[in-house]
Amino acid sequence: MSKFKKKANTKQDIPTSALPDIIFMLLFFFMVTTVLREVTINVKQRIPEATQLRKLERKSLVSYLYVGEPKKVEQWGSEPRIQANDVFIEPSDVTLWVAQEKDKLNEVERDQITIALKVDSEAKRGLISDIELQLRKANARKLLYSTILELE
């Protein structure tokens, strides 16, 4: 009997001293990849899929417009709206918005501004083409339709 008792006395703890290190590693990964949300998106965003995606190299030159049906339908109606920096704007306000976005950039880089349009799949071309026309008038002529990669 005494023989068995002695064996049972061996340590049975799993060493957990490395656990914080593992967690920290995960933590750092997420801290590095995180982009904190700057705006609360108030429109539905079912981003369409495509295959020929291009990547934007300079994120500082990109400004975002969100287009889609408002999430609060009872307040804003169900017609797709344009959202820029937390507020809904009309197509005619896009020129002004582009001017404001350009002011944030360095003077030499202002004509390189890229507008990323995050458009809901169900939005209609009419509204989008109104935006495009305003962008042309504002001389912001690099346009990116945000899409996600279509897996075949």
Binding site: P20, R54, R136, K142
Partner: protein, 197 residues
Amino acid sequence: MARNKGRENPEINSSSMADIAFLLLIFFLVTTTIANDKGLLIPLPPDPDQMEDLDIKIPERNLFKIQINSADKMLVEGEPFTNDPKELKQMIKDFVNNNGRDPESSDNPQKAIVSLKTDRGTTQAKFIEVLDNIQAAYYEMYASRAGVATEEWRKIIDNLKEPDNRRLYDIGRGVDADGKAEYPMNISIAEPTKIGG
């Protein structure tokens, strides 16, 4: 000696360290949006008010017309098109590379224009799907001319500052005597119609 009995192993209790790290980890997990800065890049034409109103006649044969109505139905070269939009890729390649063989199709790649016209009621999803296939046709032509894979080509054109990429870019698009591209990506996105229906 007796006093030291209670603290033989001076250790900081670090068992709650993991909990603290977990808390931070969960915070970042929740707030994270992995940035999606990818999409279809298109250049827009200049301001219509400042463009000279030139009435340029483009021969019918140099236009590849794609029309989409408000019910997302397509007309390609005037004929109803109900097939998979992926088939547009091959049609556009044949059209661009015609070089005057077929009298109904383009004179040469430089003059070939793909025209995409939608209605105001066309959904963005359909528009993106068709635009994606048009761009795919061109990217695939460029990539095969430069001898790289299509994905590789898109990476090359995203970073033209590298001299090596620039060289491949010129091979892919071809440069004629005037310094213009032999295979320009002529995609014309016309202003939508207001017919609806």
